[in-house]
C-alpha cells in the first residue's frame, strides 16, 4: 500500500467514525449541567473519593503519631526528663508490647491504596513506575523497621551492684553477683538507639522470665535519679524515653536473684543472663527486643535447687 493510499484509508477510517452533530438529548443534558443537583454530579468527585479517604487516613495517622510522640518524654540524646520521686522497686518500668495494628494498617492498606490511586491518575508511564517504586520502597523500608535492631549496649556504663566476682567464659566477661537468696540486685547499662529513626524505650518485658528456672529474673527498670551521678542504688522509677538516632540513656535493670542463690564456692553452679528484654517502638512499630549485653550477669546457685 502506498503512502498516499495509507493516509487516505486512515482518514476514511476516522471520517467514518464521525457521527455528525451532537444529538439533541446530549445538548439538553450538557446545557443543563449547571442546573443539575449536586448529588447528580457526584460521579466526578466520587472518582476522587478514594484518594480523599486515603489522604484523610494518612493525615489522621500522622496526627496520631505526632500526638503520641508529643506525649512521650523527650530524651535529648537519651537524658531523661526531671525524675519522678519514686525510687526503683520491683514492678516498675514493666511493659508489654502491643499488637502493631496501626503500622500493619499503613503497610498493607494505606500505602498500597495511595500508590494505586496515584499511579491510576498519572498519565505518564514513567511517573506511574516511579510512584509504584516509591511505594514499594516505602513499604519495604517501613516494614523492615519491625525486624531491624534498633537498640544496643554498644558503649557506655556497665555496673553491677552490689559486689561481683569477675571472670571470663568463652572470651565473654562474666560478672558473678554476690547475692543472697531472693535478694534484688541492679545492673546499670547505657542503651543506645542504633537506628536512623527515633525510638521510644517503653520499658522491660518480664514475659521472657522463665518462672521455673533458677536464673535471676527481670523484675523492674529504672532511670538514674541524677544522670551526672552514675549510682545505680539511687535509681528512680522508669518513664518512657524517646531516643534520637545515636541517642542514649542510662537505665538500671532490677533483677531478683531467686531462691537458689548462694555464696560462691565448691559444689556451687551458676546461671546467668546475657540479654535484656526491652519493649520499644519505632515509628509505630512496637516490639520486644532481646538486647544482648556485652557480658553475662551470673548468680551462683545451689546444686539441685528446684
Amino acid at each position: 500500500m502506498t503512502e498516499d493510499r495509507f493516509e487516505r484509508s486512515l482518514r476514511e477510517l476516522l471520517a467514518d467514525r464521525d457521527p455528525g452533530p451532537a444529538p439533541e438529548r446530549l445538548r439538553r443534558a450538557v446545557v443543563g449541567v449547571p442546573a443539575m443537583p449536586a448529588g447528580a454530579r457526584g460521579a466526578a468527585w466520587l472518582a476522587g473519593l478514594p484518594g480523599l479517604a486515603a489522604a484523610a487516613i494518612i493525615v489522621a495517622v500522622g496526627i496520631g503519631l505526632l500526638l503520641r510522640a508529643g506525649s512521650a518524654p523527650q530524651g535529648s540524646g537519651g537524658a531523661p526528663q526531671p525524675a519522678p520521686p519514686a525510687s526503683l522497686e520491683p514492678g516498675m518500668g514493666l511493659a508489654t508490647a502491643t499488637e502493631p495494628v496501626l503500622p500493619v494498617l499503613i503497610l498493607f492498606l494505606v500505602l498500597p491504596a495511595v500508590g494505586i490511586i496515584l499511579a491510576w491518575r498519572l498519565r505518564s508511564r514513567i511517573g506511574r513506575l516511579a510512584i509504584v517504586s516509591l511505594m514499594v520502597a516505602l513499604m519495604v523500608g517501613y516494614g523492615s523497621l519491625a525486624f531491624i535492631d534498633v537498640l544496643s549496649f554498644r558503649d557506655g556504663a556497665i555496673i553491677v551492684a552490689p559486689a561481683t566476682l569477675d571472670s571470663e567464659t568463652d572470651g565473654k566477661p562474666t560478672h558473678l553477683a554476690l547475692v543472697k537468696p531472693g535478694e534484688l540486685f541492679r545492673v546499670l547499662l547505657t542503651v543506645t538507639n542504633v537506628s536512623a529513626v527515633p525510638v521510644t524505650l517503653r520499658g522491660l518485658d518480664p514475659s521472657l522470665n522463665d518462672i521455673h528456672s533458677p536464673v535471676a529474673k527481670f523484675v523492674g527498670l529504672g532511670l538514674l535519679a541524677d544522670p551526672q551521678e552514675i549510682n545505680p542504688a539511687a535509681a528512680v522509677a522508669f518513664r518512657p524515653v524517646e531516643l534520637a538516632p545515636d541517642g542514649h540513656v542510662d537505665v538500671v535493670v532490677l533483677l531478683d536473684a531467686g531462691p537458689c542463690a548462694t555464696e560462691p564456692g565448691q559444689d556451687v553452679g551458676s546461671t546467668g543472663r546475657d540479654y535484656v528484654p526491652f519493649v520499644s517502638s519505632a515509628l509505630g512499630w512496637e516490639r520486644t527486643t532481646r538486647v544482648e549485653m556485652p557480658f553475662t550477669v551470673a548468680v551462683p546457685i545451689q546444686e539441685n535447687c528446684p
Binding site: 500500500m1 495509507f6 493516509e7 482518514r11 457521527p19 450538557v30 449541567v33 449547571p34 460521579a43 466526578a44
Partner: protein, 180 residues
C-alpha cells in the same frame, strides 16, 4: 470574544455563560470524542462527563475566549480515561460480531475490506495517547504544534507518538497484505 457576545445578549450569570459556551462548542467536542472512541454513544457519555468536570472548575477559567481549547482538553482527558478503562476490560462490540467494523471485530481475509479491517483493528490497539494524536492529526487536521497545545505535551512528544502510531498501523496493513 464569546463572553463578550454572551454579555451583549444579556447573559450574565455564570451558569448561563457556561451553558451558552458548551452549547456553542458541543458539536466539535462530541464529534472528536466519537472519532477518538470509535463509538458515538460512548462519545456522548464522555462529553457529558467532561461537561460535569468543566462546570465544577469553570471558575478557574480566566479567559472565556479559550473555552474551546480548555473544554477540548477536558474531553480528550475523558476519552483517554475511557480508552484506558477499555484496555483493562477488553470487550467485543455486538456490531463487530455481525460483520461491521468495530473494536475486536473478526477479520475477513477474503473480503474487499480486509485492509480496512486490519487498519481498524490496529488502530484500536494503539496506545490511548497515540489514538488521540492520530485522530487530531488526520481527522481534525491539526498541526503538530496545535496538537501539542491541545494535549498539553511537547511537540517532540507529539511527533514521536505519531511516528510510532503510524509505524504500527503500516505494519498491520503490510502483514495483512502479505497474508493475502
Amino acid at each position: 470574544m464569546l463572553a463578550t457576545r454572551a454579555i451583549d445578549r444579556g447573559v450574565t450569570s455564570r451558569a448561563e455563560a457556561f451553558s451558552a459556551l458548551t452549547d456553542r462548542h458541543l458539536d466539535g467536542a462530541y464529534r472528536l470524542a466519537a472519532v477518538i472512541l470509535g463509538d458515538a454513544l460512548e462519545g456522548e457519555d464522555a462529553v457529558h462527563d467532561a461537561a460535569v468536570v468543566a462546570w465544577s472548575s469553570f471558575g478557574q477559567l480566566r479567559d472565556e475566549a479559550r473555552f474551546d481549547a480548555w473544554f477540548g482538553r477536558i474531553v480528550i482527558n475523558q476519552c483517554r480515561d475511557r480508552l484506558r478503562a477499555r484496555r483493562r476490560r477488553p470487550t467485543v462490540g455486538l456490531v463487530g460480531l455481525v460483520g461491521q467494523p468495530a473494536n475486536g471485530s473478526v477479520p475477513d481475509p477474503s473480503g474487499p475490506f480486509a485492509a480496512r479491517d486490519a487498519l481498524e483493528r490496529a488502530f484500536a490497539v494503539l496506545e490511548p495517547d497515540e489514538q488521540i494524536v492520530v485522530a487530531l492529526r488526520f481527522w481534525r487536521d491539526l498541526t503538530v504544534d496545535q496538537i501539542a497545545e491541545r494535549v498539553s505535551i511537547p511537540s517532540g512528544t507529539v511527533k514521536s507518538r505519531l511516528h510510532h502510531a503510524l509505524g504500527r498501523l503500516r505494519t498491520a496493513i503490510r502483514v495483512e497484505e502479505d497474508e493475502r
